[in-house]
Symmetry: C2
Subunit: 316 residues, 2 copies
C-alpha cells in the first residue's frame, strides 16, 4: 500500500494511493489517526484503512488526482530523522579513515518538506547539492533490536533528498585543540592535554528549512521484498545525474537498525535515511556538481517500486 | 513561575512549583494542555495556570514534595533540541579556525531524560563527560526573528547536561576526500576535484539515549531578567568541577535565536542549549576529566535562579 499525508483545507489528512490508476488518491476519514500512529500498530490498523478505501470506492467518493494534492512529509512530525553518513561502496576509495559501523547525524523535523513543495535557498547558504536516498520508516519501535528481527520493525520505505550545503559545512567546521585527560597522569583530575581535532556541526548545512524533501508517500514493507534491490535515480531539470542501486549501500537496512537501536530507542514514525546513491550516471556527472543555488530546480529522486519525489527550487 | 512535567500513574502531568516552600509542587488538572502547548501561547494560558494553582491551595489539595515526583523532560517531546557548539570565551585560545556565527547540532528527543532519571552508559560508549549548559525554551515560534525581538520568543530557561562521548566522537569522524566541483573547469558538470576533509557525525556521541538530562523545570522568562548574569556550576559526587558565568557565552541568547531563525523555523517548545560552561573551578579541574563511564555519578548542574539538575549514573 502507498500511504501518505496531504494538507486539505489546512488540515493534515492521510491519503492512500489507488493501485489502479496509481495517480489517484483516496482521503481517509479524519476519524483515523495520522500515519505515525498507524505505523505504530499497522497490523491492527491495516484492515480499517483497507475498509475505508473500499467504502470510498463503493460510495463513489471521488479520488483526488495526486498532482492536485498539497503533499506533506508522509509522517508530518517524526520523533527523529536519522541519516547514515558516507554509506555507499562508491565512497570506499575516498575514505582515508572512518568507522566500520554506521555513523549518523540527525536532521530536525523542521527541515522536512513534502513532494512538490519548494526547496528554498538563500544566497548565504552557498552551494547546495542533492543527496538521493532510500528512507526507512519505523513501525514498531524498540531498543536493542537483533539484526534478524530488524525488518519486522519497518513500517515501509520512502524517498528522501538529503540536501547538503558544502559551503556551510566548511564554515561550520572547527579546527581546535580538544581537552583530553593526560594519559601520563591518570590519577590527576586536573591533568589535561590538548589534542588537535576537527569537528563539524551539521545543524545548518544539513538542517536548514526545506533541506529534507521526503515522499511522496510510504510504500509499506510487504510491497518491498528486498530493500537492497532497488534502482535509485536522481534527475535534475530532466537530466539524469545519478543512477545507482541500493545494493551498493555498505551498511544494510537490518544492520543499521540493529546498530542504531543499540544506543538510541527507535520510535514509530522515525525516519532513517540510508545514505547517498553516489555512482555517477552514464552521462558522467556527480550530485555534488548539481549546485541548486545557481542552477535552480526541479530536482527529482525516483526509486523503483516506490515512486518519484520532485521539488522545485526557489532562490533568494 | 517554575513549571515542569512529571509522570503520575504513567501519565504526563504538568506541575508548578510553589514559591514557598519551593520544594512542593502542585499538579495541574489534566484538562490543561502540556508544557509545549502552554509555551506556544503563554500570555493566554498563564492566568488559567495561576488560577489552577490557587484553587488547589484553596481546596487543600496536597502538594507533592518535589523529590517524590518522577520528573520527565519539562517539554517531554520538543520538536527539536538544538545545541550551540564551542560557545564559551574560555575556548577562544583553543580554536585555530571556526565560524564567527553560532555553529549548531541537533540532539534527538529520545536522548532526553528528566531530573533524577538515570544516565545509562554502556561499555562500548568509551569515555562520557558532562557539559553543563543553560537551555532556552521557545515560546512563540518564528522565522527571521530580529535580534531585538528575540527574547520575546523565549518561554523560559532550564538546565541541560549535554553529555558527550569523546571516544565515540573520534570513532565517528571521517577523514576523506570530499567531491567538489573543479574550479578550473567551471562549465563542465563532470569536472570534479577531491578536497581533503574531516567530518564528524554527532548521532551517537551526542545523541545516545539518556545523553540529554534536562530540567528539573522551566523558569519562565519574567523571572530571569538577564540570562547572561547567571552562575552555572557542575558538581560531580559532591565535588565542584566547574563554576562559570553565562556572561562568558560568546554568542548571546538573542544572537543565537536570531541567527538560528535565519535558516530554521523555531517552534514552541524547541530547546536551544547555549553551550558549555568550561571554566575550571577554583579546585582546578575540567568537565572533560569527569569520565562518568569509569567514575559513575551522581552528576549535577545548578544555575542561579533556576535550580539544580541531578542524575545518577548506571553503568553496563
Amino acid at each position: 500500500m502507498k500511504i501518505g499525508t496531504a494538507a486539505i483545507d489546512g488540515r493534515e489528512r492521510v491519503v492512500v494511493l489507488l493501485d489502479d490508476p496509481g495517480d489517484l488518491a483516496v482521503l481517509l476519514p479524519a476519524t483515523l489517526p495520522g500515519v505515525g500512529e498507524l505505523a505504530a500498530d499497522w497490523p491492527r490498523w491495516r484492515p480499517r484503512v483497507e475498509e475505508a478505501v473500499e467504502r470510498a470506492g463503493a460510495e463513489g467518493v471521488a479520488a483526488e488526482p495526486m498532482d492536485d494534492l498539497t503533499w506533506l512529509p508522509p509522517v508530518p512530525r517524526p520523533g527523529k530523522v536519522v541519516c547514515v553518513a558516507l554509506n555507499n561502496s562508491a565512497n570506499k576509495d575516498r575514505i582515508m579513515s572512518g568507522p566500520e559501523h554506521p555513523a549518523t547525524f540527525p536532521k530536525p523535523t523542521t527541515s522536512l518538506v513534502g513532494h512538490q513543495q519548494p526547496i528554498r535557498i538563500r544566497p548565504e547558504y552557498g552551494r547546495v547539492h542533492p543527496e538521493p536516498e532510500l528512507a526507512v520508516v519505523i513501525g514498531r519501535g524498540g531498543r536493542d533490536i537483533a539484526r534478524e528481527d530488524a525488518l519486522d520493525h519497518v513500517f515501509g520505505y520512502t524517498i528522501i533528498n538529503d540536501l547538503t550545503s558544502p559551503t556551510m559545512r566548511a564554515e561550520d567546521t572547527f579546527h581546535y585543540r580538544a581537552i583530553h585527560p593526560d594519559p601520563e597522569r591518570p590519577g590527576d583530575a586536573t591533568a589535561i592535554r590538548y589534542v588537535d581535532t576537527w569537528v563539524s556541526y551539521p545543524g545548518r548545512y544539513k538542517g536548514a528549512d526545506t533541506f529534507g524533501p521526503i515522499g511522496p508517500w510510504i510504500v509499506t514493507r510487504d510491497e518491498v521484498p528486498d530493500p537492497h534491490d532497488l534502482t535509485i535515480q536522481c534527475t535534475h531539470q530532466g537530466r539524469v545525474v545519478t543512477k545507482d542501486s541500493t545494493a551498493n549501500l555498505k551498511h544494510k537496512v537490518a544492520d543499521v537498525l540493529s546498530f542504531l537501536s543499540s544506543y538510541s530507542t527507535l520510535e514509530p514514525g522515525d525516519i532513517i535515511a540510508m545514505g547517498t546513491a553516489l555512482k555517477p550516471s552514464g552521462a558522467g556527472s556527480a550530485v555534488q556538481n548539481v549546485d541548486l543555488a545557481t542552477l535552480g530546480g526541479p530536482i527529482s529522486v525516483s526509486i523503483t517500486g516506490i515512486g518519484e519525489l520532485s521539488n522545485p527550487v526557489e532562490l533568494g
